[in-house]
Amino acid sequence: MVDLSLGQLGSGSILLALVLALYAAVTGMAGAWRRDARLLTSARLAAGAVFLAMTSAVLVMEAALLSDDFTVKYVAEHSRIASPVWVKVVTLWAALEGSILLWGWLLTGYTAILAVTAPNSTLRPWALAIMQLAQIFFIGVSALVANPFSIVPNPPLDGPGPNPLLQNHWMMSVHPVLLYLGFVGLTVPFAFAMSALITRRPGSEWMTLTRRWTLTGWGFLTAGIVAGGWWSYEVLGWGGYWAWDPVENVSFMPWLTATAFIHSVQVQERRRMLKAWNVLLITLTFALSILGTFLIRSGIISSVHAFGDGPVGPVFLGFFLVIMVSAFGLIALRWDQIRDRAELDSVVSREGSFLTGNVLFLAMAFAILLGTLFPLIVEALTAEKVTVGAPFFDQVTLPIWLLIFLLMGIGPLLPWRRAEEQSLKRNLAWLAGAFLVSGGLAFALGMRKVYPLATVALAGYNFTSLGLLITGALHPRIRLSKRSPVAIFKSYAFENRRRFGSMIVHSGVIVVALGVMASSGYRVDEQLRLDFGTSVPFRGYDLTAVDRFMERTPGRISAGVVVEVWQRGRLVTTLRPRTNVFGQNPQTISTPAVLYTPKWDLYLNLASSIGPDQEFVVIRAVQSPLITWIWIGGLIVALGTAYALSPQTRQHRTVRGEEAART
């Protein structure tokens, strides 16, 4: 028997996956074209086989990483013997080739699940074929352009290990996967939208079929962005979580279009409007996720996340262009069927608020895209260097956020078609009252900055809006029923999962907004010199450096300082900010120490060396009000999404769902 190396096994798996994916796409399209059930079944089975082949590739990569097989190029370039097991496992997505392999694997997984579970409909054959074309791209890149399994002729004895930033914290293992799950999830509605155009069924069938996929993808994307923020807070050491770095921007743009999409599809479901627009939105969402990969992986934009340049960038650009051209071509071909002969009863209606929201989300996505690309364009055209940084993005996006926030409160209170004047006036009075009261309270408590004040006022306004929504739904039920209000609330929340889930999501958004407002508007940074044994005041705390420490774990040397945090004569906690060196890598990475409290975080990061004979250390101290609420709010959003997705019995859905639709 021939002795196969892991590299050959991995390359073989990817090639097999590529061949199977080609087969699946060709049979799938032929079957869809000729309406041949046998070909279609074969294509669906092949989707399962592609997934198995890619699973094998991923497992082989993990085996190579865990067994330190440095004959495999990816392992030789990005892994190290001394790394702990979890670092080796997540090294799969710590660099470019592995990330693409992971993305491709998740895509084949979704395609396989879709092939098995999607109900048999006219849309399914072409939707599967589009998914299969997309997976051919990813598998093809893994097989031909960025093969992680290339064999190293003279394998090194040990590798350099992954980027130190990426092995510094366990959270590194979370957000990339969540983001890929999000991107891949949003591929599904795109595939069904294209299928709807191809099969000339541009009604709302494609979006009802993919509703769960869309929400799942959106939920993962949201969770990924929030988890990524938390990671950078815990790792990057400057006490913030969002720097408008290109990589953050390119994950955020598809999120904006996807958010516009999940709201906008409801207009088509209810009012048969916006057919073309919704197709456009989901196309943009998918295309932006690919464009983002091109931007940050081609090396043309520098970023903390850039893995370096290579041939992968142009390939992604090509794929982006193919998607845009074919999607727009299809839209043009089917224009007659999807253009809106819509009617609108009134602008003051649910659909009116969604239309306005669409414009705001898209305007924000455009501003971010422009800000990200502008330095690049200017440098290409004039050889002049310009910078577009965080203050620009803050100034441009904040007003749009506030308008979105304003809509978020009033939109769900407006009925479809036309708002009834009396109830509208009553609701507006409540909302205006809440706005003024909470804004006034904030002002009385000493807040003077415009955006934070507006955010607090709008947060009160939005919470009141949620209250009005709930009481509006419960009131008639309580009047008609003899059951207790609590029981009625429970059954309402239980039976209207999609609606109640959206309320939970919105409340999470308010919490996130408050956290963002306070932590960026009222953050305090100082750099302190702590002499050992002497206490230094900082924002109501007394910080005393009492000791220094050193740790050596396999592959890492850390040194840090033990800081006692005192408040009003009581020891609150002991923080241990440290700095680390990983293996032979000359880069030092600081690990901040954070005291999490509901009111504010105390964040300490080492800003100097700690020599054994030094009598002091320099500490960067940051106090960020309410910042923890960003992570809590993110969790609420994720839970709300999960709640909206949780299965409901059919009886409830039809009977109660109709009822909810009328209220």
């Binding site: 903390v304 009863d345 910078t387 577009v388 700095t579």
Partner: protein, 153 residues
């Protein structure tokens, strides 16, 4: 041995001159947040721990102590490094594009929306579209109905 190795490693790597005045106030970071760290990727002078950022923070602190205000300090760096050093692009020249285009696109979007909404609102007032053959059939039936009684008369 360990201690020595560690100390040299870390001091080397961080390379911070210990002789510097090390207390920096809040305002230093607020100003530093508007300046680009010249050697980093998308990090501000306030956030970066590169040597040059540390020196620039120091410089800001010194200038603050000399009584200069935020605008003067930003202008000082702008003169040395050019507009490129400002994270907030100045609102003139080429930079106007990046400031104005989002506003124009936003307004364009709002305008398009208004035009579309007006068209859609009007369309509710226009009578229902009726198929031509359907219309024929109704006409014929109407005629038939009006003819019917006259015949019987």
């Amino acid at each position: 041995m360990n201690r020595f190795l560690l100390a040299s490693l870390l001091s080397l790597a961080i390379g911070l001159a210990a002789a510097q005045e090390l207390q920096l106030e809040k305002q230093v970071f607020e100003i530093g947040r508007q300046l680009r760290c010249p050697v980093c990727v998308s990090e501000s002078v306030a956030d970066s721990n590169a040597q040059i950022s540390i020196e620039m923070r120091q410089l800001i602190q010194e200038q603050l102590e000399e009584g200069r205000n935020e605008r003067e300090i930003l202008a000082f760096f702008q003169e040395r490094y050019g507009d490129w050093i400002l994270l907030n692009p100045p609102k003139r020249g080429l930079h106007l594009v990046v400031w104005l285009l989002p506003v124009l696109v936003g307004l364009g979007g709002a305008f398009t929306l208004v035009v579309l909404v007006r068209r859609w609102l009007k369309s509710t007032a226009t009578p229902l579209e009726v198929d031509e053959t359907e219309l024929e059939r109704v006409r014929a039936e109407l005629e038939h109905a009006s003819e019917g009684p006259s015949k019987s008369l």
